[in-house]
């Protein structure tokens, strides 16, 4: 290939892109008007934001430096970084939630890769969740830290993975009961699922706050955090159950009949034949649910648990750094966005991957 050919092909490619852009932006008179209007809108909104967030911003220093400048105070985020990650966890022991976060994120990254989808992964989940709990509470490595001192991003990730992990097996049982030929259990499962799905999560959290302490013997002794986690697990299991049910419905009944004909009992049929196929089908749906659940953990702020959102908000109530709410919210939003956007991209990739491996 000569140099001129390379140049030719490059100009050809860029002119094709140009052509596409030209049609996409100025193809018709209406399109040109829309482009102009959109540019005008962006020109009105973006420059002040950039000025506030970048040019007039204070990147390092104290709150006095920030007060002097007119832009955003990113120095605040730097000063409050630890608080937003760990909230009121005793500073000397913050290596514990740091390890827990690393463990949980590592577990998620491993879980995300189809080549690790084996029985061992279930064991890993069990071990990591148990280890996180032991580390956070410090039962084996005193001093113990009561769960009302847990907080920040660590608590958000912890509640999310533990509740989702516990809700899934419960949800599979619920979905099986709802699909079964046993009238009594079916009614029970339907009633539970519809009750949970018809109720806002805030109401469920209030039940954890106000009713559970009265209903459980010595309920006052159980921490708010643990009570909330019990109710969230029950609440999420109803949503997961509906996704699992969709997967079960997609498995032809011939599969189950064939398994019965081979002499397999109900549980072995489910465990060996139906569930492996059904769960594989609903993995993308589960990922989407998991993203929604991560966003939903922010509701813990309503009952005064210092999750990521609440920690960010209360970091702006520090008298030294009073009122930098916008910066705090933006930083929290960035963390949520990175986790969830990454998750939704992953879900798209996974769907494609699963469809491809199905065909082979």
């Amino acid at each position: 290939m000569t140099i001129s050919e390379v140049l030719d092909s490059r100009t050809w490619r860029s002119s094709a892109t140009l052509q596409m852009l030209k049609i996409g932006l100025f193809g018709t008179p209406l399109n040109s008007i829309i482009t102009m209007a959109t540019v005008a809108l962006l020109g009105w909104i973006v420059p002040p934001l950039v000025r506030w967030g970048v040019f007039d911003a204070t990147w390092t220093g104290t709150s006095a430096d920030c007060a002097a400048a007119s832009g955003a105070c990113w120095a605040f985020v730097g000063a409050k970084f630890r608080f937003i990650l760990f909230a009121f966890y005793p500073p000397a022991l913050q290596w514990r939630p740091a390890i827990v976060m690393a463990l949980l994120l590592g577990l998620l990254i491993v879980t995300a890769q189809p080549r690790f989808w084996r029985k061992g992964l279930l064991v890993a989940w069990f071990v990591v969740v148990a280890a996180s709990w032991i580390l956070m509470s410090g039962t084996l490595t005193p001093p113990a830290v009561p769960s009302n001192q847990w907080g920040g991003l660590a608590v958000t990730l912890f509640v999310w993975s533990v509740c989702f992990g516990l809700a899934t097996p419960l949800a599979i049982l619920l979905a099986l009961a709802r699909r079964s030929s046993m009238g009594g259990l079916r009614v029970l499962a339907v009633a539970f699922i519809e009750l949970m799905r018809g109720t806002p999560m805030v109401a469920i959290l209030y039940v954890a706050m106000l009713i559970l302490p009265m209903a459980i013997p010595n309920g006052q002794l159980i921490d708010k955090n643990v009570r909330a986690m019990i109710m969230i697990t029950l609440f999420w299991s109803a949503y997961v159950a509906e996704v699992v049910r969709a997967g079960l419905q997609a498995i032809p009944s011939g599969q189950q009949e064939a398994a019965t004909a081979l002499g397999l009992g109900y549980w072995r049929t489910m465990q060996l034949i139906v569930l492996p196929q059904a769960l594989r089908l609903v993995i993308p749906g589960m990922v989407n649910l998991a993203i929604g659940f991560l966003l939903a953990t922010s509701l813990l702020a309503v009952i005064g648990i210092f999750d990521l959102l609440n920690a960010a908000r209360s970091s702006a109530t520090d008298p030294q750094w009073l009122g930098y709410y916008n910066e705090a919210y933006l930083f929290a939003a960035l963390i949520y966005f990175l986790l969830c956007f990454g998750g939704s991209r992953y879900s798209l990739w996974l769907e494609k991957y699963l469809r491809r491996s199905e065909r082979i």
Partner: protein, 397 residues
């Protein structure tokens, strides 16, 4: 199973006991045991609750609803003063929730459809902008967005320095002021006449739909008659309606409608969050219609608007409607986050009630029952609508 048995012609169908045992299914005793265990668990929890309530001296029951509630509510559609019964406070909270949810659904639908169509407009810049709007809104928590909106609403200037748009919308720290219709001297006859007009109009449309003959021109005529009737009804019954623009009067702004900062923030949060969801649904719905349909319609000589209205939308709606329904239900449930930003919605009032009376079990039971009832009625209404959309499609095909 039972339906197969019934379909067999013969003198004897299965008896009622047989039917019941078929419905109950396998492992009857295990099921009884599981259900008994669940009942025992709930009995135990209930027993504990009753014991705790007795220990702290609270009598269980719904008597507290008639007792006076000694708190004020920031804003209510019905008159409420401290000292009115709890039942009225809860009703006010419910109406506040319904107001936010209904207005939120309408505005989110309008914005969502606009965004969805803008995303498909073929303009690359606009489509990219919509894409990013949807991604950012979808991937951050609603509660965080509400915190942002409430802090924005509270940071607006005082009414005297209000930010205004077109001289009729005002953003102030006392709320958002928008133009609206003001009614005077509305009497009972006015309401009756308006109700009669509305019923007559709906009856005509339903009747014409039933006969499957509702040309656009006749519908337009009926609508014009309705509007004319409404306009005439006011002076004839001695009532008046004027289009009020908010304007600065003294230290505050008067006229039009005033949305409190809390309500405006809640509404903004719900509308932004769910317009993104609806935009995605609209996009998915329109894209679900095969390209061949567009090409075939163009070959028949229809223009873009006709293709959209007659060919694409009726089919897209079958995808869009059920998904939008669940969005509406989610919006109604998520309006409960109002409690976090100080809007007196149902959850907020129930929480105050539970804290001031100590009757948290009863209060929360009411809360859950009310949300279930709302959810159930919306699902039923939407299912009826869904069936109609599907039937109409089949009838014309």
């Amino acid at each position: 199973m039972s339906s197969i048995v019934e379909a067999v012609p013969g003198p004897v169908g299965p008896g009622i006991l047989r039917k019941m045992s078929l419905w109950w299914g396998n492992w009857p005793l295990t099921q009884v045991a599981v259900i008994a265990a669940v009942i025992a668990l709930f009995w135990l929890l209930g027993h504990n609750t009753a014991e705790t309530m007795a220990r702290i001296g609270i009598a269980p029951g719904f008597d507290f609803l008639g007792r006076p509630a000694n708190f004020e509510i920031g804003e209510t559609p019905i008159a409420f003063r401290a000292g009115d019964p709890y039942a009225r406070a809860i009703l006010a909270g419910l109406l506040n929730t319904l107001r936010a949810a209904a207005l939120g659904c309408v505005l989110a639908t309008i914005l969502g459809v606009i965004l969805g169509v803008a995303g498909l407009s073929g303009n690359l810049l606009l489509a990219a902008l919509v894409r990013w709007y949807v991604e950012i809104v979808r991937n951050t928590p609603l509660l965080l967005q509400l915190f942002f909106w409430i802090s924005l609403a509270k940071s607006f200037p005082s009414p005297r320095q209000a930010l205004s748009a077109f001289g009729s919308f005002f953003l102030t720290n006392r709320g958002v002021f928008v133009p609206g219709l003001g009614f005077h001297n509305v009497s009972a006859p006015t309401v009756w006449v308006l109700a009669g007009l509305a019923i007559a109009y709906l009856a005509f449309v339903a009747w014409a739909r039933g006969k499957r003959s509702l040309p656009a021109r006749r519908l337009g005529l009926a609508t014009a008659l309705l509007v004319g009737g409404i306009v005439l009804a006011f002076p004839l019954t001695g009532a008046g309606a004027t289009w009020e623009l908010p304007a600065l009067a003294g230290f505050n702004i008067r006229g039009g409608y005033n949305l409190t900062p809390e309500f405006a923030a809640l509404l903004a949060g719900l509308v932004v969050k769910f317009s993104a969801a609806i935009a995605e649904i609209v996009r998915a719905g329109i894209q679900s219609v095969d390209r061949g349909q567009w090409e075939a319609s163009r070959a028949l000589g229809l223009h873009r608007g006709q293709i959209m209205r007659l060919v694409v939308l009726p089919q897209a709606l079958r995808v869009i409607t059920p998904l939008t329904t669940s969005s509406y239900l989610d919006l109604t449930k998520d309006s409960s986050l109002a409690v976090a930003i100080g809007y007196p919605d149902l959850v907020s009032i129930i929480n105050t009630t539970a804290n001031t009376t100590g009757q948290s079990l009863e209060a929360l039971t009411m809360l859950i029952a009310i949300y279930l009832a709302i959810n159930l009625s919306v699902s039923v209404a939407m299912n009826v609508y869904n069936r109609r959309v599907a039937l109409r499609g089949n009838g014309r095909a």
